[in-house]
């Protein structure tokens, strides 16, 4: 059974993920029953991965059993849905630098979900959280050198032919450059590092000046 559902809600398509911790909310999302199983609504305005999937990113990149390194876990909104998607056989290694937001991530997500391992650490130092090789690196961090940081993490922890999902935050990389220009430059960096870039999904209207790059590391 799939852990991700799509349905029409008020004439819009909406996403739901099967709740790994039934009865528990990670933020203030809705809990709904579908076929007797509890799902959580996944808001594309709050989660860039949901936005990308609604805008055409393949939805089988993060799937049941995946091991995911999640950089920039923040308060854990998106990590909680990734945790739903990978299910009990998967792993989410969640890394967050800021203690303030990590508090909510640990409290509301990591403690409640048995496939989530939290780290309050700097993504520039992958040795701090090197507990397992992973199938997917998801990177959503507001740093000018976010692409280089993501590449370094892939080198350290991404299994051969694994996937990188990189949220390109145009305004964090260069406030003055045109976002489209930033997307092209950052994509070129990935290709220069040997990644094959499969797609770039611009996230408007859900998120301004953000795009999600889907790239594969050669095996």
């Amino acid at each position: 059974m799939t852990r991700l559902l799509r349905e029409e809600r008020n004439g819009r398509s909406a996403l739901l993920t099967m709740n790994l911790a039934p009865g528990k909310r990670a933020y203030n999302e809705d809990l709904v029953l579908r076929g007797g199983v509890e799902f959580r609504t996944w808001d594309p305005f709050r989660s860039k991965l949901a936005a990308a999937i609604l805008k055409g990113l393949p939805d089988d990149i993060v799937r049941e059993g995946s091991r995911v390194l999640y950089l920039g876990a923040s308060t854990g909104t998106t990590p909680s849905h990734v945790s739903d998607l990978v299910g009990p056989g998967g792993v989410v290694i969640g890394v967050e630098f800021s203690p303030r937001v990590a508090r909510e991530f640990v409290e509301r997500v990591a403690r409640e979900r048995r496939n989530v391992i939290p780290f309050v650490a700097d993504a520039r130092d992958p040795s701090r959280y090197a507990v397992s090789k992973v199938d997917v690196v998801y990177c959503d961090i507001a740093q000018p050198d976010q692409t280089e940081i993501a590449i370094a993490n892939c080198r350290a922890l991404l299994a051969g032919s694994g996937t990188l999902l990189l949220v390109v935050k145009a305004r964090s990389i260069d406030v003055l450059k045109e976002p489209e220009r930033v997307y092209v430059d950052e994509t070129a960096k990935l290709e220069g590092a040997g990644f094959r870039v499969r797609s770039l999904t611009e996230l408007s209207p859900f998120e301004k000046d953000h795009a999600l790059v889907y790239a594969v590391q050669p095996g």
């Binding site: 203690p99 303030r100 640990v106 048995r114 507990v131």
Partner: protein, 304 residues
């Protein structure tokens, strides 16, 4: 990484619990940092200022319907709110009620005369009750503000004595709040410290080529805002330089160093001396009159 625990196994769960415990310890340690408490205190102080202003203004506006002359005569909003909350309606104003408020006899007489000839309307008991409560809240907020101000002053002396000495306690604390803590302030370049709080002007400058801001929060420092306009940029830059050094000494060495303030004072003195006169406008070589409005950036710096 030699052991890759299987999800759901006891080893995996042990690893997860250990990780949670470490993350929580890191969070706990971060939340007990005194500089972060100081950041909250200065923000509470600035918030309180805002509430105090709106509350006192509302109380005096409302009470002004009833006794407008008093509002005119008492400039200090807090003293006014104290009177409103303690005395209430106009009829309550008497020599006794006005005693001990620091008024001269002449002023007391003037207030009493205004009471008798007031152009204000009558006020119901219900209205008096509400205005009194509102005025009392303003007085309370003023006390809260005083307490926070003292606290920020004394904590800055402990947490960042050199920044407090060079920038002043409240401005130093505001810079710390903007930077996100003493650790962050200590690694900021002086040029960033100079314009903290002027982000809007900075980005406008980067985007359009308008002139960059000379100062942000630092404008509040009396050495900057009391200086003549043409000296302010230089003074703000010097001040930022010394604050950067002070923050580093506070964070990494943690000892007071009087030489920073001394060097600042010396440098400020030489700026004031050297740039006593306003700069003369350079005549335009083209002979055309100066253009009005914001100076444009030179071509080579402009964005394509």
């Amino acid at each position: 990484m030699s052991t890759e625990p299987t999800p759901g196994s006891p080893e995996f769960e042990a690893l997860r619990q250990k990780s949670i415990a470490e993350a929580e310890a890191a969070i706990r340690e971060a939340s007990s940092r005194p500089d972060l408490h100081l950041v909250q205190a200065i923000q509470a102080l600035d918030d309180t200022d805002k509430y105090l202003n709106v509350t006192a203004t509302r109380a005096s506006e409302w009470y002004g319907l009833h006794f407008p002359e008093l509002i005119q005569m008492v400039q200090d909003n807090i003293a006014l709110c104290k009177m409103i909350s303690e005395i209430g309606a106009r009829e309550g104003f008497s020599k006794e009620a006005l005693a001990g408020r620091g008024f001269t006899d002449k002023k007391v007489d003037a207030v009493l005369e205004a009471r008798d000839r007031s152009k204000g309307g009558t006020i119901s008991d219900g209205d008096v009750g509400r205005v009194k409560a509102l005025a009392a809240l303003a007085v309370q907020l003023s006390n809260l503000r005083g307490g926070l101000d003292d606290y920020v002053g004394s904590q800055m002396k402990k947490v960042a004595p050199n920044v407090a000495e060079v920038a002043g306690a409240t401005i130093g604390a505001r810079l710390m709040a903007k930077a996100g803590g003493l650790d962050r302030l200590a690694v900021l370049p002086a040029s960033t410290i100079q314009i903290l709080g002027a982000e809007k002007a900075l980005f406008r400058s980067l985007r359009t080529g308008a002139r960059p801001p000379k100062h942000g929060i630092l404008f509040q420092h009396q050495a900057v805002h009391t200086a003549p306009k043409w000296q302010r940029g230089k003074i703000a830059r010097t001040l930022a330089n010394k604050i950067a050094i002070a923050a580093r000494v506070d964070y990494y060495r943690g000892a007071e160093d009087a030489s920073i303030k001394a060097a600042l004072d010396k440098r400020l003195e030489s700026i004031r001396e050297k740039y006593k006169e306003p700069p003369r406008r350079k005549p335009d070589p083209s002979g055309r009159p100066r253009k009005e409005g914001r100076p444009q950036r030179r071509e080579k710096f402009r964005r394509r």
